[in-house]
């Protein structure tokens, strides 16, 4: 069975169930609506604060659409079930928070290695360990990037509002399907539980995509090849008589394990990287405000991008030439653009709810003569406009 989410029957159900309009809802709900509109019809999860409303909504809504909600025994099982379901053709998602994200890391690596499309939502909460379970944070920037072992590419997005979560979740699914890769959504506990206005669009306004399927038997024989030169092999789904072999071990283009030939490993892992690197147009996205003439550049992401914009607007009112750069796809980091912007400013301030994570990426792309400073806050309370403005004034 294949459920892409754009079959006529699915469109009919979506139209009947979700009337377009403005709604007052939680970030978690907006994100779940995004998944539903993106065509997600399989969700496997395990309850964890502050992500649980996503599971609750999927449990309530998916059956209406003929989709499946599975509550697994733990987070490890959740991502495992997702991979299994993805190989049967479903668009799949789970949502968790830091501790659960840690448990999912091994199978996230499996999904990278076996080129399994899935969307993994990490509603970031204050850590390490159990930390402040109900409080938001942005401490998983590098867990998303390097949480699983070995050389691997990863795509991670981070929305800045409930409305943004709706659209960015759709984008996450489209990237996962288009590049046959897992995509991480770095959401956070603050936006997850903030209720605000979210516009649910008409189904027709939403563009969704589906993974490449093999055109013929020949293509199906190389589930890990590169027949189209874009690094993305078609996916011979289970149940179609292809006798597909899928393994997390190093494998040849036909899927069979070969862990002894150095060239086989080199070829596979380099292609996995190339697949992401050369398809930047599929995922790269950032927002800029007042960057044309900015002398002080604030770089921020996720929840903190909002007070950061407020601070930049106030600074402008005070005559300070401040600008804002918000990577929406945080991994791979938009380094080229960062480099260009870094050349034009004299100070870069990186605002985030952690003790300095994205700043490490920023640092790689700016010169030594630019003043670089982190604006960091932990404890579960988001940065305010005033706090960021104070730092801007300090370097003005």
């Amino acid at each position: 069975m294949i459920v892409r989410g754009d079959e006529p029957e699915q469109i009919r159900l979506l139209k009947k169930l979700y009337r377009p309009g403005n709604y007052f809802m939680q970030g978690n709900e907006a994100l779940a609506y995004g998944a539903i509109f993106a065509g997600c019809r399989f969700y496997a999860g395990y309850p964890i604060t502050p992500s649980s409303e996503i599971a609750e909504m999927m449990a309530r809504e998916l059956p209406k659409l003929g989709g499946y909600y599975l509550q697994m025994e733990d987070e490890i099982g959740s991502i495992a079930a997702m991979v299994g379901a993805s190989w049967t053709g479903f668009k799949v998602m789970t949502a968790t928070a830091g501790p659960g994200f840690s448990l999912m890391q091994e199978n996230l690596g499996y999904a990278v290695m076996t080129e399994t499309p899935l969307v993994l939502v990490d509603v970031q909460r204050s850590g390490p360990s159990t930390g402040q379970a109900t409080k938001g944070a942005q401490g998983d920037f590098f867990q998303a990037r390097w949480g699983t072992h070995g050389d691997h590419p990863i795509v991670a997005l981070s929305p800045t509002s409930g409305q943004d979560a709706f659209w960015e979740t759709i984008r996450a699914f489209n990237i996962a399907e288009r590049l046959r890769t897992p995509v991480v959504m770095l959401f956070d506990g603050v936006l997850a539980h903030t209720r605000e206005l979210v516009k649910i669009p008409d189904v027709e306004e939403v563009e969704i995509t589906y993974r490449k399927l093999p055109k013929n038997e020949e293509e199906a024989k190389l589930p890990f090849g590169d027949p189209h030169g874009d690094g993305v092999p078609p996916m011979p789904l289970f149940g179609h008589g292809y006798f597909t072999h899928v393994t997390g071990s190093t494998h040849k283009e036909n899927g069979l394990r070969d862990v002894y030939t150095p060239e086989v490993h080199d070829r596979l892992v380099r292609r996995l990287h190339r697949k992401i690197e050369k398809n930047k147009d599929v995922y790269e996205k950032y927002e800029e405000h007042f960057t044309e003439d900015a002398e002080i550049l604030v770089v921020s992401w996720g929840v903190t991008a909002r007070p950061a914009l407020g601070a930049v607007l106030k600074a402008r009112e005070e005559g300070i030439k401040a600008g804002l750069f918000v990577p929406k796809t945080v991994h791979p980091f938009p380094g080229e653009r960062m480099k260009q912007l870094g050349k034009r400013v004299r100070a870069v301030l990186v605002a985030e709810m952690n003790l300095g994570q994205m700043i490490i990426e920023v640092e790689r792309y700016i010169n030594d003569d630019v003043l670089l400073k982190g604006i960091n806050k932990i404890g579960g309370v988001p940065l305010t406009v005033e706090e960021i403005l104070r730092e801007i004034r300090g370097v003005a």
Binding site: M1, K64, Y68, E73, S78, G84, F238, G239, S249
Partner: protein
């Protein structure tokens, strides 16, 4: 030798020839299990296109993957049943079979085993129990008999082995049976039953590892291990009348349960029907 197998073995059509010969050691029970599984599939006339075989990590995970010619998902350590759960939900009309070892399914993956049995999801698990971690060099497993020697219990094992079949039966599986590699025909019959049962089924196969287990426990030859199984096997009907002390060191064989219980994926689809009906969402 390999060529001879290709021409003489009648069930070669079920195997992925390009992946042969297998990685299993001479004398390993894994070949017996693969043969029993292929025979069960053949006798039931199951089209391999209707099969998805899922395995984890370890020697026993290699019994059917990649050698059995079907869709095969070779997963991470311990997680085969959780992966298989997603596959079964997506392909309810296919037979989903997990073949893996005791360390994989009952130690690191023990939680998934118990909960899949509890859900009674229609997956057939063939759990190959060789009492040892073979691939990593013969370390102590949660199934290693009390007193046995392994590379990480070099003096003697002071832990008690997990009774896998009993545990899974208690957790709610529809079908549970245990045999040894010395009971090939019974094993084939049980795999056939397990494949036909609507619900979670477990066939535990006690299987010899002469290289990592037998060698360190005065049973260097595979045949010695098979004789050990035969000598100490007790049918479940007889075992019921024996005391725990009398059962110490014995292998209880036979069918533990064979019962009808609501199956998970069927219930899931029924629920979807009900919900769609309730909200008036059914198509014209």
């Amino acid at each position: 030798m390999a060529k001879e197998i290709y021409s003489k073995y009648p069930l070669i059509k079920y195997l992925r020839k390009e992946a042969l010969p297998t990685a299993l050691c001479p004398g390993c029970g894994g070949g017996t299990v693969l043969n029993a599984f292929a025979n069960a599939v053949d006798q039931l006339k199951i089209d391999p296109k209707d099969l998805v075989v899922v395995s984890g990590i370890g020697c026993s995970a290699w019994i059917a993957s990649p050698y059995f010619l079907a869709d095969t998902l070779h997963t991470t350590h311990g997680r085969a049943i959780a992966f298989a759960t997603g596959v079964k939900v997506g392909l309810p009309d296919k037979r989903v079979v997990v073949i893996s070892g005791d360390g994989d399914l009952a130690s690191i993956g023990g939680n998934h085993l118990i909960h899949a049995a509890r859900r009674n999801i229609d997956i057939t698990v063939i759990l190959v129990n060789n009492f040892i971690y073979g691939m990593t060099g013969g370390q102590l497993a949660p199934t290693t008999p009390f007193g046995a020697k392994t590379t990480t219990s070099p003096y003697r094992n002071i832990e008690h082995p997990l009774q896998i079949s009993e545990t899974v039966a208690a957790a709610g599986a529809s079908y549970v049976a245990r045999w040894t590699t010395a009971h090939v025909y019974q094993l084939i019959e049980s795999i056939k039953k397990a494949l036909q049962v609507k619900g979670f089924s477990l066939v535990e196969v006690i299987s010899q590892c002469p290289v990592q287990f037998g060698r360190r426990n005065q049973m260097k030859e595979p045949a010695e291990m098979l004789r050990w199984y035969l000598k100490n096997s007790v049918p479940i009907s007889k075992a019921k009348k024996m005391s725990p002390e009398e059962l110490e060191g014995k292998f209880v064989i036979g069918e533990f349960v064979n019962r009808e219980r609501p199956e998970f994926v069927t219930e899931l689809n029924k629920l979807i029907e009900e919900v769609q009906e309730h909200f008036g969402l059914k198509g014209e």
